[in-house]
Symmetry: D2
């Protein structure tokens, strides 16, 4: 491809430099989903026959099945997930595969895939946060009568219910979830049809593509649509706040489980020991994991 | 105050260390506004007579007027804006002033003032962003027929309308405004009544305070309410994206105004010269200013 | 100035936008110091007579004295500290003042002033870190027999000397000081002579300027010299590590002073109380201050 | 291991949470190197016989050879690279393998491995930066007579030699290398002997270990030594500056290669095309690669 004007072979070094398949392989279900929807618009525009479209859809599904089982061979010289799938599709079904990229550039395809990917990740994260909230509420209810000191500057200030302390985190996590939901609105916009930068001379039914992919809105400016990654930055900012809240909760657990505070005892199922000091059990704070937090349940002492 | 258990004088060093009046003085209108609302709740609870409340309100308004004219003397030994105003109020009106802090801690007072302050700043920023959008739309309309190259990797790709390029920024700024509006929802929650950490034994009508201050919602957990500054972090994250968009627009202007591109000529009103090279005019990119951007209008060449 | 080619007045808005005097006023001693050295090179090159140079030096010293006493009036329309001083000098001594900017641009003047300023700040910071190290060593010696638990994951692991714990911080601070010293080497290079970007056609004795200002080295490339601010970024990175170490020490103090740990009692001189809870004393962690840390000495309980 | 006091099985979830082998496997050559040196100290202390030590060294070398060929099977339930190697060693050679961890904790072992790893990475990076400097000098020499505009604010200011512009980057990269060298001094300190936190009751010859591993210095405080990762943060800060300089150089190349500037033409070997626009060639800026930069050489137009 891109044989147009080059006299020399693209250097091997540039290939290593340009490839993204080593990390964008994870977009595969979304790339297939997006191409299936795009093929519907191509058919509606008369650029694919129903038979051609059927071949494309079946071909993509077969490729997806192969990726899932690990049978698919990703090739670095094909640079990214988009070229890997498209090239294999054309190898398998011939001409119709080559027509799939009509009226689409990699720029808007990448934008689409990332949006589909992050939309689905946000939903997973939201579910985990909701689970953690439930776990905190449950724990509060099971210890409804327990009173602990409330601290300011780590000096005992006023007694509070243990549950009151836990419910503070439920509030924080609710704001985190609200923030993710707000970010999801800005992720959830369909960019296809933007071309490389200036749209396409072939008019496709963008609304049809959006409907098939569950997008409630369309991007309005092609130059903006192909370059916009604001939603990804916004998501990272939102997740930083999630991480801050989990870190604060972890600090509380660590403090409460110390011999000096001794408010809680961690279950042996969630502690590890020390290679030097066999009498000692540690609890881990190194990596943040929503699930681990949700399950790292403790018994009020 | 805080004479309870101290045997020694608080060291001068600690005072310098503890003071915040040198930067939190700007909260003054919000501190006064919040105290006026709090005094209404105190009156409703029977903790202030109507006469006492009237004295408080008039006293606070007089102090506000003095701060506005510069007649008010801030005192560092009173630490922060809250103590400066409260202490002066008590000096001026006596007993009722001393009663104002009933059922309120500095913790929830600070939380309230910051929320009032940022809510008002968000509204100012949103107005500036809207002005910039209008300026971009106007400029596009005045140059509706102008076509420029569209670039990818700064290589000429496809011709685009100059207006199309400008409208890409209108989209970016709209997302910025939507993001600020979402953040404003989380700022716009009334924390008073949370006490230092565990609420207060004196029940005040929190809804009354919220209504007077225009808050549509109340915080639900006192431990969370006094420590929550998530909204400030979220606002800074949102403003970072605004800054990124303005920087990108500035880059375009700088590029277009270069002799090599020469798409636009900047008005002399918005350029400065060089101390070494009198024939040269510079345009500034050093500091971001919404207003400056909005007005740094250019003529398509 | 810069009247060369402008037909319109520079807009008031641009002035507000372009000014830096509101924060670069603090460079004044370094700007004067740099100009005194530059005038020596101008005299050596025959561009100033000894009389002219003497007038310049005396004029600059008088201005410095006025700034120190607060008598000097900074003017925003003169943009920055460099123009404020130069303009006032010319007003006071006439022609020689106007000659001072010969063979110098604001670009290399700013680079010089920032280097002089940061070099002097680094020395102040290093002294404060050394004082804090001494305080920690003293405290360790006064409590040489005290043993406390050593913790991993905040679980008691092995007993350690209190002094051993304190000396860990002496190590951290020593690395911080070494890092500042390494950064200082890169600050300590003389940029004058770089012009706006491409040097000057007038050859001055750069080594003379460096010697007068105590710089052991000269910058070698004018384009790099006027744009290099790496040293400032490096310094901020180094100070972030200092802040991290002080924050960690503060955490230890806060933990040790809690009723649960109760290893130390903070002096009343370094605590404040609570507006709601008169029986309570707080210790402050909000702002980092080397000096405060150095003096916030504690008594092992 | 760590069977001491646990009544329950460590949960599968915690295992996923605690494991680091999925990313710390890359420490393997350094873990082996460190263990070989540690075994020498154990032998000198009489804790290993020469035969036992020989078995250990041969066993470790065989494991290293297996890892290199891909024959070694990493096991997630063994958590990290240290346990994977130690466990396999004991399986292969029995008792002597189990003795290897005497007088050593994972805490100081991790500290040692990271220092060995980063020291070797710094040396690789320094080599690449030096290569890039050479490439820039070569390019400048090959175009010694070429003059281009020098810009301030992207407005043509003064003519400069193309080589002068390139040499500015040589200066920046030299500072980067100096910074890495300074950081390397702080990486290059031997931590073994610190135990989990408080050293070990078994005295080993730390100087011997340092000599064998090429460390010119020993850590002095065990609490500091096991927790210190300042050097890693400092390295990241230094590499951020490297990335900034490479990004700036890339910007220049992109600008110069535009049709508007047209100062250089990029070799076809280092460009890729567009999927939509076959007449177009792109140059890549997405990922930073020292090597790619060093080779992305251009011909002055």
């Amino acid at each position: 491809m891109w044989k147009g004007r080059f006299q020399q072979q693209t250097a091997a070094l540039l290939q290593t430099y340009s490839e993204s398949i080593s990390y964008d392989w994870r977009l595969w279900p979304h790339d297939i989903e997006g191409s299936v929807a795009h093929s519907a618009a191509l058919e509606k525009a008369g650029l694919l026959t129903p038979q051609e479209r059927e071949a494309i859809v079946k071909g993509l599904q077969a490729i997806g099945a192969d990726i899932e089982t690990g049978a698919f061979q990703f090739r670095m010289e094909l640079e990214d997930i988009h070229m890997n799938i498209e090239s294999e599709l054309t190898r398998r079904i011939g001409d119709p595969g080559a027509k799939l990229h009509t009226a689409r550039s990699r720029n808007d395809q990448v934008a689409l895939d990332i949006r589909l990917y992050l939309r689905s990740e946000v939903d997973v994260l939201d579910g985990l946060l909701r689970e953690l909230q439930s776990a905190l509420v449950d724990l509060g209810e099971r210890n409804a009568e327990v009173v602990i000191p409330g601290y300011t500057h780590l000096q005992r200030a006023q007694p509070v219910y243990f549950a009151h302390h836990l419910l503070a985190y439920v509030e924080m996590l609710q704001r985190d979830r609200d923030r993710l939901a707000d970010c999801r609105k800005r992720i959830n916009v369909m960019p296809l049809g933007s071309g490389a930068i200036a749209g396409s001379t072939i008019l496709l039914d963008r609304q049809l593509v959006a409907d098939l992919l569950g997008f409630p809105a369309l991007t309005r400016n092609s130059m903006d649509a192909v370059s916009d990654r604001d939603f990804a930055i916004e998501l990272l900012a939102g997740l930083s706040l999630v991480a801050m809240h989990l870190s604060r909760l972890s600090e509380d657990v660590i403090l409460w489980a110390s011999s000096e505070f001794h408010f809680i005892v961690l279950s042996d199922a969630f502690t590890t020991g020390s290679s030097l000091m066999p009498q000692k059990k540690n609890h881990r704070k190194q990596k943040s994991s929503l699930l681990a937090q949700a399950n790292a349940m403790m018994t009020a002492n």
